[in-house]
């Protein structure tokens, strides 16, 4: 039986209008609840984005061993993605190393971890002209689809968290990093933290951090982990914004 194209068209029209109306109501409701119950419904101010976890570092516990950087490269390489490390470790003399770390590791220097903050209102997302940056549904991570990325660099520019001068990175390799999104010239794509959404065990950096392992084993006494998975709420975002501010001056450590 042939369908009446006009009818079908009207139906579609109605359902679209209906959808827009309903979506508007939901947005308003979510926004209201969000105001009333801060922290319960996360990302409420930006209902178009699912909530996300965040790699939450504690610079005072970092020993600059780069296990996180290498683990990140490894797991992404294994599944055929860019091997640019999505977390970087920098020298930062302003960081106060915690006594538990000095006790176990001596005077190794102080370091700052620079992960992606998975901003609640991720500015890297809307700027992508090909919708390659999107929200991964299970983890909420803001991820880049390497197969559609056209390497225009708009997301890198949009990122509001600059990295410290790469001359102060602890690793030898240089990736020309400026923000938490990095260009991979070998693959001609951009890469960012995706919270290892493809790993049932969760982010590889958290799992392989030797300080984390020692804390979990009770060898190092600490209430917090060197790298932890925190809820991607406003509170975390504000904390990260404070913590991840790039220190003044870009001199290499003497």
């Amino acid at each position: 039986m042939a369908e009446d194209p006009t009818d079908g068209g009207r139906e579609r029209e109605i359902s679209r209008r209906d959808f827009v109306k309903r979506a508007g109501a939901t947005t308003a409701a979510v926004a209201l609840v969000g105001v009333g119950l801060p922290g319960v419904i996360r990302g409420a101010a930006f209902p178009h984005m699912a909530e996300s976890g965040v790699i939450m570092p504690d610079p005072g516990l970092c020993i600059g061993c780069l296990s996180c950087e290498v683990a990140c490269s490894d797991v992404h390489r294994e599944i055929g993605l860019s091997e640019v490390p999505r977390i970087r470790i920098y020298f930062d003399e302003s960081v106060q190393v915690k006594p538990a770390i000095v006790e176990s590791y001596g005077d190794r220097g102080s370091f700052m971890q620079a992960p992606c903050v998975q901003c609640p209102d991720a500015p890297c997302l809307p700027v992508c002209p090909v919708d390659a940056v999107r929200v991964e549904p299970t983890t909420g991570a803001r991820i880049i689809n390497e197969s559609t990325c056209i390497a225009c660099g708009k997301c890198e520019d949009a990122c509001i968290f600059p990295t410290i001068d790469e001359a102060r990175a602890t690793g030898e390799e240089r990736f020309g990093q400026r923000s938490r999104i990095t260009y991979d010239e070998t693959r001609n794509v951009y890469a960012k933290c995706d919270l290892c959404y493809f790993r049932p065990e969760g982010p590889a950096c958290i799992e392989q951090c030797p300080v984390n392992i020692r804390i979990n084993e009770g060898i190092i006494q600490s209430d917090v982990l060197c790298l932890d998975l925190a809820p991607g709420d406003r509170a975390t975002f504000e904390r990260m914004r404070e913590q991840q501010a790039v220190p003044a001056g870009g001199e290499a450590p003497a």
Binding site: C65, V70, T170, P210, A252
Partner: protein
């Protein structure tokens, strides 16, 4: 060998047999049960010098033969001395140059089968929290081994090339690209994959103005030992004026470490105490010593200064 992950080539066997006796194995490191003797390959132990072409070494040339080759002694003293600094006379008679640069690291956690470390396919570096007196001060990431070879820094200082045979055929690369760190692959120390062989080592004829030096600091002074730090230096100079510098250290990083910052600081300069201190300081600027090995930073700096002086003497 390509088809069997438990097969290894054997030549001198001085490193490999120890590895087998210690039964080093893990998820990323199968127990070897098949050895293929490659000593019968004709010409694989050649040492050939040609003024125009430079020095060609077969990977199976013994350390002793290289140390005592008149051409090597005359034109490549840094290599002769590096070959002579390795191990003991007995081992140098059987040990080959290829084996020396491809030997496995000496990390005591790696060599002990009780510790399932990254290099054996595990997921922890025991040196980070354990005994790390002899571990890396530079470029350590994930795994903190140091490259144990005495010959490798000399080859790199001489800008030698490695030719390897892989499944895809022959390939030549500078030794600067031959060694790989834990970031590239924590299970190996060089580009060779299962079944690949190093087939030729070649280096250009050095400039007539090149001065060379090899210094090895070791724990047991007058007898044989692995280097705590060693440095191979080639300086091209006119009197006090440095034209070019090539400085490579072993014992400080997971691969032989080219002190690029020191080379850059010296190139085109007139030598002075201040300049040497500055160059050595620049080379070690990025050092991240562990709990027990900060002493290597000072040794490395002093060896760089001494070796440049010695090369220019």
């Amino acid at each position: 060998m390509r088809a069997n992950p438990e097969a290894r080539p054997i030549a001198g066997g001085s490193d490999l047999l120890g590895w087998i006796k210690e039964d080093v194995q893990g998820t990323g490191e199968p127990r070897w049960n098949l050895l293929v003797d490659i000593r019968t390959i004709p010409g694989s132990d050649e040492i050939r010098f040609d003024e125009a072409d430079g020095l060609t070494l077969g990977p199976l040339a013994t350390l002793d033969a290289i140390e005592h080759s008149p051409e090597v002694q005359d034109r490549y003293p840094v290599l002769s001395r590096a070959a002579g600094a390795a191990a003991s006379p007995n081992i140098r008679h059987v040990g080959t140059i290829g084996g020396n640069i491809n030997q496995r690291p000496r990390c005591w956690y790696l060599r002990n089968t009780e510790f399932d470390c990254y290099k054996k396919g595990g997921n922890f570096c025991f040196a980070v929290t354990g005994k790390n007196e002899y571990h890396a001060i530079l470029n350590g990431e994930l795994c903190y081994i140091v490259h144990p070879s005495d010959a490798a820094p000399a080859l790199m200082a001489l800008h030698a090339d490695a030719t390897i045979r892989t499944a895809d055929g022959e390939q030549t690369m500078p030794f600067d690209e031959y060694f790989i760190g834990p970031r590239q692959d924590v299970l190996r120390e060089n580009v060779l994959q299962q079944g690949d062989l190093l087939t030729r080592i070649h280096m250009p004829t050095p400039s007539p103005n090149a001065g060379m030096s090899f210094i090895k600091a070791q724990r047991r002074g007058e007898t044989y030992d692995f280097a705590v730090v060693n440095v191979a230096t080639v300086i091209v100079h006119e009197g006090d004026q440095i034209e070019d510098a090539s400085i490579v250290l072993s014992g400080v990083a997971p691969t032989p470490f080219r002190a690029v910052a020191a080379e850059d600081a010296l190139r085109g300069q007139t030598v002075s105490d201040g300049l040497l201190q500055q160059a050595a300081g620049a080379a070690l600027l990025r050092a991240r010593p562990m709990t027990e090995n900060a002493y290597k930073v000072g040794i490395s700096k002093n060896l760089i200064v001494r070796s440049v002086r010695e090369a220019m003497a």
